[in-house]
C-alpha cells in the first residue's frame, strides 16, 4: 500500500472552479426579495457622551422603516472576543467611526437621506490620540478599567548582569505603522427570520464566535440564532471581529423582514480593526563571537478605542520577541493601551511582523558590531532541537529553522548573483 495517496498532493482547490467562473456568491451578491437596506450612522467626533438622538425627521423620509439606537438593544450592549468592551450601538463615542444609529429603509437612497436627518447631541470629552499620553496616570480613562488594558511579561535569567558581562550592548527604538487589511471583499451580509430562528449570512472568520456575541447582544438563545458563513473574499484577521452581524440581527429581529448591509470601501476602512502600531525599545547584548546573551524589550501597542484582539496581539508579541533564537536572559514587557484612535485588532501575524522588524534589525546591528555576517550571527543563535524558548519551553520536535536558513541561503546564492560577490 502506498504511504499516502492524497496527503502531499496538490489537488485542485474545491472552491476554485466556482470562484474562477464567477459563480461563487459573496455576501453582497445575495439578493432576498423585499430585503431592507441597512445603513449605519457613525460618529464624526472621537470622544463624547451621547446626550440625545432625535430621529423624528429621519423617520418621516419615505421608505424608512425603522431607526435603532442603543436603547433598542434587547440584550447586553457589548461584545468582544477577549474583552466585552464594544457596544453594538453606542451611547459613548470612543473613536471617529463608532456606530450610533442603524437605519433600515426600502432602498439605499432613502437610508442615506435618513442618516443625514438624524440629529445627535453630544457632550464632548477630551480625546487622546497619543499612546504615551494615554498611558499617563492622570490621563482621562477611555474605559472604566483605565487606559492600560493589559501588561504581559516574559522574564528569564538576569538581564542586567548579562549586560555588564557582554562585549556589545546595542539599543534600538522601532516604530511600526497602522495597517488596513484590504481584503478584496468588504464586510457584508443578509439576515432573515426562518420561523423563530434568526438566520444571519455574512463573511466571517469565526461563525461560532459570532453566534456567542450576537446572541448576547440580541438576548437570544444560542440555538435560535444561525450564523452561516458566506463565501468570504479574504479576512487576514479583520473578519474575526463582529462587524455587520449585530446590525443585521437587530433589524431582522425587530422588523421581521429580511435585511441586507454592505460596507463600501470607505466604511470598511473607518469601521473595522487595523494592525496595531507598535513602539518597540529593544536592547540586545552579545559576546564578541556574536552569541546572544540577553534582550530587554519594551513593547507598546495602540489598540485604539476597543480591545478587539489587542491583548492577544501584545501577548504573542511578547512571547515571540526574541525571534527564533536562544537567549539565556530575557526581560520583555508588552503593554496594550486604549486611545481614541480607530481600534486595532487581529491582523496576519498578531504582532509578530512588528517584532521581526525590530529583532532582525537588531541582529544585523550586532553582527556588524562583532564583525560577522548576518548569516553567521543567525547560524550561531537559532533554535536547535532541545533549545529552551524565552518561556522555558523545550523544543523537542519539528524545529526546522536550521533547515530553512540553510535552504534559503543556498537558493539565494543561486538566484542572487550579487549576494555571492559580497561574500556575506
Amino acid at each position: 500500500m502506498p504511504e499516502y495517496n492524497i496527503i502531499g498532493k496538490s489537488v485542485q482547490r474545491i472552491d476554485g472552479p466556482r470562484k474562477v467562473s464567477g459563480e461563487a456568491q459573496y455576501a453582497a451578491d445575495l439578493d432576498i426579495p423585499g430585503a431592507l437596506c441597512l445603513k449605519v450612522l457613525r460618529s464624526k467626533v472621537a470622544h463624547a457622551l451621547l446626550q440625545g438622538i432625535d430621529t423624528r425627521e429621519a423617520l418621516k423620509v419615505p421608505g424608512v422603516v425603522g431607526i435603532f439606537t442603543h436603547v433598542d438593544i434587547p440584550g447586553i450592549n457589548s461584545y468582544g472576543i477577549i474583552v466585552k468592551d464594544q457596544p453594538a450601538l453606542t451611547n459613548r463615542v470612543r473613536f471617529k467611526g463608532d456606530a450610533i444609529a442603524l437605519v433600515a429603509a426600502e432602498d439605499e437612497a432613502s437610508a442615506n437621506k435618513a442618516l443625514r436627518l438624524i440629529k445627535v447631541s453630544l457632550q464632548d470629552l477630551s480625546p487622546i490620540y497619543d499612546i504615551r499620553e494615554a498611558m499617563r496616570e492622570d490621563a482621562p480613562a477611555i474605559h472604566e478599567t483605565g487606559n492600560i488594558l493589559s501588561v504581559y511579561k516574559v522574564k528569564k535569567g538576569d538581564v542586567e548582569s548579562a549586560f555588564k558581562q557582554a562585549d556589545v550592548v546595542i539599543p534600538g527604538s522601532y516604530t511600526t505603522q497602522r495597517v488596513e487589511h484590504c481584503y478584496i471583499e468588504t464586510e457584508a451580509g443578509v439576515a432573515y427570520m426562518d420561523n423563530d430562528m434568526l438566520v444571519i449570512k455574512a463573511g466571517t472568520q469565526n461563525p461560532h464566535y459570532d453566534r456567542r456575541d450576537v446572541a448576547r447582544v440580541l438576548g437570544l438563545a444560542m440555538n435560535k440564532l444561525r450564523i452561516i458563513q458566506t463565501t468570504t473574499g479574504g479576512g487576514f484577521g479583520g473578519k474575526l471581529d463582529i462587524s455587520v452581524q449585530c446590525f443585521l440581527g437587530l433589524a431582522a429581529l425587530k422588523l421581521g423582514r429580511p435585511v441586507k448591509i454592505a460596507y463600501d470601501r470607505q466604511e470598511s476602512f473607518v469601521a473595522t480593526g487595523k494592525r496595531h502600531p507598535f513602539f518597540i525599545d529593544y536592547i540586545t547584548a552579545a559576546n564578541r563571537e556574536g552569541k546572544l546573551l540577553a534582550v530587554k524589550v519594551r513593547i507598546v501597542g495602540d489598540t485604539g478605542a476597543y480591545a478587539s484582539y489587542g491583548p492577544a496581539t501584545l501577548l504573542r508579541a511578547a512571547v515571540h520577541a526574541t525571534g527564533p533564537y536562544e537567549v539565556p536572559n530575557v526581560d520583555i514587557e508588552a503593554f496594550c493601551v486604549y486611545t481614541n484612535n480607530p481600534f486595532s485588532g487581529a491582523m496576519r501575524g498578531f504582532g509578530t511582523p512588528q517584532m521581526a522588524f525590530a529583532c532582525e534589525s537588531q541582529l544585523d546591528l550586532v553582527a556588524q558590531a562583532v564583525n560577522i555576517s548576518p548569516l553567521e550571527i543567525r547560524r550561531r543563535n537559532i533554535f536547535q532541537k532541545g533549545s529552551l524558548t524565552a518561556t522555558q519551553q523545550k523544543l523537542d520536535v519539528s524545529v526546522g529553522i536550521g533547515k530553512t536558513l540553510e535552504a534559503a541561503w543556498e537558493k539565494a546564492l543561486q538566484v542572487m548573483p550579487g549576494l555571492g560577490d559580497e561574500n556575506k
Binding site: M1, P2, Y4, I7, G8, K9, S10, V11, Q12, I14, D15, K96, G97, Y129, K153, V154, K155, G172, S173, T175, T176, Q177, R178, V179, E180, C182, G203, Q205, N206, H208, Y209, L225, R226, I227, I228, Q229, T232, G235, K239, R265, F269, K274, H320, P324, Y325, P342, R348, F350, A356, E360, S361, T391, S398, V399, G400, T404, A408, K411, G418, L419
Partner: protein, 331 residues
C-alpha cells in the same frame, strides 16, 4: 544612482491561540456509496482550509478527495471549530477531522476484519478498497459499509482536538504557550533609487518549515501571498490619522502592492514533521508574511549603509535619511 542590497530575516510562529484552549470539532458521515460528508465549523476564507480538510478526510477514509463533501461554518449544522486565525486550522481542525475520520474508519475496519477473518491491525482502507497488510483484499469499502448497514450500524464519526498548552506565569511568562511552531527564513534582494527614494524588491527567497505540506501548491500560494502583503507592509501601507480620523480611507490613497510591485518569489517548503499534527502538518498562513518586511528592511540597510527604524520605508523617509547622512558627513 541605484543601489542593490540583500537582507535576511528569520521567524518563528506558534500555531494556535497563545496559552489558551482553542478546540475544534468535526463530524464525519461515511455514506452507503462510499462517499463521505464532513461537518466542520472551520471557515474557509480563501486560504484553502476546506480543500486541506477534504484531503485529510479522504486519506484517512481511503477514498478519493472528490468523494468528500465539506460542509463548513454553519452554526446550525457544524460543530465549533474556533477561528480561522492563528494559523491554526490545518493543525487544529485538521486533527479534529482526522480523529473523526479515524473514528469511523475503525468501525469499518472492525467489520472488515470480522468478514475477512483477519486481525484488525492488518486491515487498512486505501483507494476505495479494504487492504490486508500490503495487498488489496479485493473487497471495496462500499461493500463493507453496506455490511455495516445490514447489521444496523451507521458509520458516523466524531472528533475534537485542543492543542496541548499551559497557562503562562503572570510575572515571568513561563509555560508552554503553543503545542508547536512553524519556522521560516526569507532573503530579499532590493534596489534603492537614491534620487527618488523608491525601493524595488527584485526577488525573495522564502523557505518555510510547515511540517507536512498537505497541499504543496496551497502552501506556495500562501507564501507568495504573504510575501506580497509583506512588501506592502515594508514599503507602502500606512493608515494615516489626523486627530483620530483616517486621511486615506480608499484604494486610491492607501497604496497596496500591485502585480507590478511583486517580484519572483522562490518558495521552498521544508517539511519537519510534527508528531502531533495531522499527518505531520503544522501551518503557514501567517508565517508567510512575518519575516518579509524585516528582510526588506535589512536589505535596504545593506544597500544604503543606513539603518531605518520606522516602517513603512517610504521614498520620503529614505530621501530624508540619505540627506541627513550627507549633512552629518559634511560636519
Amino acid at each position: 544612482m541605484k543601489k542593490r542590497g540583500y537582507g535576511i530575516a528569520n521567524m518563528w510562529y506558534g500555531i494556535g491561540n497563545t496559552a489558551n484552549p482553542n478546540p475544534s470539532g468535526a463530524f464525519v458521515d461515511f455514506l452507503d456509496d462510499g462517499t463521505a460528508i464532513v461537518l466542520t465549523g472551520c471557515a474557509d476564507i480563501g486560504q484553502g482550509s476546506s480543500t486541506v480538510l477534504a484531503q485529510i478526510a479522504a486519506e484517512t477514509l481511503g477514498i478519493c478527495v472528490e468523494d468528500v463533501v465539506i460542509v463548513s461554518a454553519d452554526t446550525e449544522v457544524t460543530p465549533d471549530a474556533g477561528a480561522s486565525s492563528a494559523s491554526r486550522q490545518t493543525y487544529v481542525s485538521g486533527n479534529a477531522v482526522r480523529l473523526a475520520a479515524e473514528n469511523v474508519r475503525n468501525q469499518v475496519i472492525a467489520i472488515a476484519a470480522e468478514l475477512l477473518n483477519i486481525p484488525t491491525e492488518t486491515v487498512s482502507l486505501s483507494q476505495g478498497e479494504i487492504w490486508n497488510s500490503d495487498k488489496s483484499s479485493g473487497m471495496s469499502i462500499k461493500e463493507i459499509i453496506n455490511k455495516c448497514r445490514s447489521k444496523g450500524i451507521l458509520t458516523l464519526g466524531h472528533g475534537s482536538y485542543n492543542p496541548v498548552t499551559t497557562e503562562l506565569d503572570p510575572e515571568t511568562g513561563q509555560g508552554i504557550p503553543y503545542a508547536t511552531y512553524a519556522f521560516a527564513t526569507q532573503v530579499s534582494e532590493i534596489e534603492v533609487d537614491t534620487e527618488t527614494g523608491i525601493v524595488e524588491v527584485k526577488q525573495i527567497v522564502a523557505a518555510h518549515d510547515v511540517g507536512t505540506a498537505i497541499n504543496p501548491q496551497n502552501v506556495e500560494g500562501q507564501i507568495e501571498g504573504g510575501c506580497a502583503m509583506g512588501i506592502g507592509y515594508a514599503l507602502l501601507e500606512e493608515v494615516i490619522l489626523k486627530d483620530g480620523e483616517i486621511q486615506n480611507p480608499g484604494m486610491s490613497t492607501y497604496l497596496i502592492p500591485t502585480a507590478l510591485d511583486v517580484p519572483e518569489i522562490h518558495t521552498i517548503i521544508i517539511e519537519e514533521s510534527e508528531i502531533s499534527g495531522p499527518y505531520g502538518a503544522k501551518g503557514v498562513g501567517e508565517p508567510a508574511l512575518v519575516p518579509t518586511a524585516a528582510a526588506i528592511a535589512n536589505a535596504v540597510a545593506d544597500a544604503l549603509g543606513i539603518r531605518m527604524y520606522e516602517l513603512p520605508l517610504t521614498p520620503e523617509k529614505i530621501i530624508a535619511a540619505i540627506k541627513n547622512r550627507k549633512e552629518v558627513e559634511a560636519i
